[in-house]
Symmetry: D2
Subunit: 358 residues, 4 copies
């Protein structure tokens, strides 16, 4: 094994750079994974732009597919050479938050065991996976073997996009016979659309404007796609539901406009399931909120992680219920990752997701 590797690091606002770094040392609970495929997330673009602060020199990326290269001394149940994924969220499994079912808010190491976003470590508080190798912490909680027969690109969405998007449908409590609206059909919104359908929603309404994404929405299960460039989406959803509104609205963009529209299309007693990463305060309009008396619920979800989550998502892929390969629209070797960032951050070429291969 080499002693150094290439890694895409945050080099200050506006700059993500390939650098040579040491291959990390493997602690007792860690696993060193050789990355075979990874991808870029919208969050990485926030980091690139300096909107979400991380340490200078940190390796970016939180969506690894790879092969176990070396296991920590206390890690049991895996073997070197095994193909694995790890979630974007890598819980310890042992904090109070984890033991209470809130792995994404893992407070391992804090006095009381809870920390906002604490389960998100890759490319945030520790080196991430846009590199030749990545160190997976708490490996026994996080390494999920890839089922035979699944290619890297088939499971590439599991660590984040699929887990988050499906999580939006799950947190929304979608039930058989529900009507669900999903605002924005980027990669996460598309997965929310697929997830809502997978849970038994009988009318799934996607809201989007970009033609390629509208088309992708139909392919992943939307019964209707509203072009918000052509008509008011709140009115359109009201019309499509004969005035009743939707049981669940999923916000998948992170803006005031989509948040507010999600609230406005809810039936009384409906649930707004919010997935977006917001960048400013939100406003809840009094009328849309029935002055607080509409039995509405607003739920937020940070990408669920851990190996059991990954196992379940890969089972969905293996079963053929959902095929997310169409989301991979572009491919780059790690050497050209700066070019990939440029394409992805500016949403050129109908890009949905890019596959990066070290």
């Amino acid at each position: 094994m080499p002693k150094t590797m290439r890694a895409a690091v945050f080099a200050g606002p506006g700059r993500i750079q390939l650098r040579e770094k040491p291959v990390p040392e493997v602690g007792p609970l860690d696993a060193l994974v050789r990355v075979t495929t990874t991808t870029i997330c919208g969050t990485d673009v926030h980091i690139l732009r300096g909107e979400y602060p991380v340490a200078e020199g940190l390796t970016i990326g939180h969506e690894p597919v790879g092969v176990v290269e070396r296991l920590g001394s206390a890690v049991k149940g895996y073997k070197e050479g095994q193909r694995v994924v790890a979630g974007a969220i890598t819980p310890s499994g042992t904090s109070n938050a984890c033991l209470c079912g809130f792995c994404s808010q893992d407070g391992a190491g804090t006095a009381h065991g809870w920390k906002p976003l604490g389960g998100w470590r890759f490319g945030n508080t520790i080196d991430g996976c846009q590199a030749e190798y990545v160190l997976v912490p708490d490996a026994m909680a996080n390494l999920a073997p890839v089922p035979d027969g699944l290619a890297d690109e088939q499971v590439l969405m599991c660590p984040d996009i699929m887990s988050t998007g499906f999580g939006g449908a799950e947190s929304g409590g979608v039930r058989i016979g529900d009507t669900v609206a999903v605002f924005a059909q980027g990669p996460i919104g598309l997965c929310a659309t697929a997830g809502a359908r997978l849970m038994g929603a009988t009318t799934v309404i996607g809201v989007e404007r970009v033609p390629e994404r509208m088309e992708a929405a139909r392919g992943l299960g939307a019964d209707h796609v509203v072009d918000f460039g052509r008509e008011d989406p709140v009115e359109a959803v009201r019309r499509l539901t004969d005035g009743r509104g939707v049981d669940v609205a999923i916000e998948a963009l992170g803006t005031q406009a989509t948040f507010e529209a999600s609230l406005r299309v809810l039936r009384p007693g409906g649930t707004l399931s919010s997935l977006g990463v917001y960048s400013s305060d939100l406003r809840i309009p009094l009328d849309a909120f029935a002055a607080g008396l509409g039995d509405h619920r607003i739920v937020t979800t940070l990408c669920p992680g851990g190996k059991e989550r990954m196992r379940r998502l890969m089972a969905v892929i293996a079963s053929g219920r959902v095929d997310l390969r169409p989301l991979v629209t572009h491919r780059f070797p790690l050497e050209r990752i700066e070019e990939a960032y440029d394409l992805f951050a500016n949403q050129r070429g109908g890009v949905l997701k890019v596959a990066i291969t070290p």
Copy 2:
């Protein structure tokens, strides 16, 4: 039975007046109840002030305790002379919303069966109970016999205050071992405090400034009462929870300040259970909301109604678990209801709730 009765009606903004009205006709599904005790709610004050529009001449009031005077031709299972309460919310039981468990958003009579606040009829869309008689619609779904041995004032909070306050704890999903903060200790906040404790919260923190209400909070189960006039309540709650925050925060006032503070004291993954009736748009601060990534939930609850709810709440009273009589601080005959409104609306004399006896 007399042909006319006295009733407190909305006579235009700022005026609630006692008038002589006909005793209502009893339809096949109705019950005519002779009111023995009723009370005034904060919502009635909103109506009085013209902030919540109702028809001129409508009888106000939605918290009836009384005696069955006459039963509709299709009403079975009750007998005249029976002591009963009916909830503030009087669901039909037969709308789509009701059959889906959302009785408060009952859309009986609408095309699709859902209507915001549709279950709230007394003193809103039909004549209420600040009168000598009140017509209870859909009587079979709504009349709940008062257990022997319970006085009117013991069950007077069941129709609204207790049902709403307890509902805040229930919707918040309070569990054994939880820490719960309740913002504002008016009648509903006090019931939320009692409800949180009744569900197994082990630390209940009331936030209030009025000494009588702080004292009442301690009496109903608060382990700590934070005087927000003396210290910042968010800091106080953080301190009392060793920095972890609360599992559930209950908003019981209806202002931006309490809504925001409720959000700020939550642990990651915590639930804000909102009971207040707001009068303007709400703002969700980005930091308090962890940019949408904190696995927070915001749930709202309109007073649960129907006879099964009333039965359960009266069972709580009958068991002695909670005694809400201390909430009745003043008593007035119906004749002096205008005086009662004046006292209650201006929160004079340490008033919590008034008992009105026709």
Copy 3:
């Protein structure tokens, strides 16, 4: 409208007979529905055989599709000539059980408001729908308009088979990524299979022996079908799940063998969702139950009813998610219903369900 009609009545053990009966009088809360299509249920066969006692002369049948002929004086929101279905379970909506979410155990008319199986009235405690007309009680809670474009046979399974089968998946709490085994692939088991898949199960295993039913199971979503005539189904399920067992097992027959096998294939912490109508005591083997320490759950479900349930199920059909027409294998006019009973009760000719047209 005629004064008399033909109806299939229970004429003593072993005999269901067509008789001429008066067309029923319409009470204030009722609707008279002209039946256009109905079917025979396994429960009707129990009645035929005298295993489930009903009154001599009672009209049998609880799965009506038809047209509103006349509405009771207090019934609002419908019009004559409207195409409707009503569920096998016709809740009042107003009993304590209904208001608590247990419509099938509706105790309308009892002192406390709960009655085992109380929501099942058609062909049990009141005249059913294997007749030219049927009186639907509590019509406002029970009449569900058929969406335009759906034929009778498309919605014929909604009142019972589909509601029960889907209910098995719902009560089992099927989640995305679950593995589910369904024991027996008769009409209800087939709907449980479809329901489990619809809710996101990624491996659905049907257990059956009859070739036509095995084939139908594959068509409705089973990933694997185990022929229990050829191999031990418990071993087969263990093998298909690599020894882990299933998250949810659905029992859809009503025998000790299937109940026990369902328990044996569960993973620790799994749920046995029981749909069968048993005819003798059940035995829980100590080992299969982990001596009571396996965090197992056993849940039972009586067919959910009411118009909101029917609306949701018809929405599933209208969306094209599930097509249950293949379950209708035979068709008979009402005149030949005795012949239909003979075929169905003896499971001849590969029968799944029969359509009866008055």
Copy 4:
């Protein structure tokens, strides 16, 4: 620190013996705890009698209160000298079962991550705590600091009895206003009684025959205690509930008689929450089960463990909501543990629980 210690070991059926054993080596994830107080459980008596097989020479006991003596090299967040408890169930936190919320069925080390009762290790698969020292595995998931001011005996029930008993109420889904029956008022039944009351049950009915236990039941919150030696408990519960039955019945003994009675007292749609360790097959009577159509649920619970659970239970004690000290009726030094077993196994002297101090 000494090299050897005294420990109570299983020395073959009928014999638990004090032996001298080496103080265990501390692995990287372990903590060595000096036991200050422990107790004997009914399960230990099963082991003593050879009814539940464990390895000859294994140290028995799974309810430790003690002081951290030494921490494994990878254990962070604790310090030596700290007072702690660990649950009877010591989950790894990292298995699939744990990450799915089923810590008690922890399958760490198995291929698929689930194992029946796998979370129970102390005195079952590894050395337990009826000894001077105990090695706590996966210490970061399991060590819970004892709040200042709580004595050993105050928290001695947390590891098992209180966690199990409360778990019975929690799994039963007890809600405000529920009526709950608890069959048998031994230590676990008493905690179930306290737990049901703590969650808001308004009528808690204990069933017992031993006068001291009946008295203890009243002290811990039972509203009624039925002496099943004097009257049929099913009839008594029916009478106390006016024929309706209970919402939740908790079985806390592990016999056919109590299991069956629990089922018979349920209202339709009620939940039987089973805590007992059974020793033979169970029978579900057809009538009590409404032939499978009563919407009944049967749920089982193995003692929840892990440090967050312990933290919550100790918070209940610290809040003063429940005082379980009265359950400690006898005290023995470790030297006399054989005598303690004799007393406890034969339920002499009104024993509920014994405190053992090494």
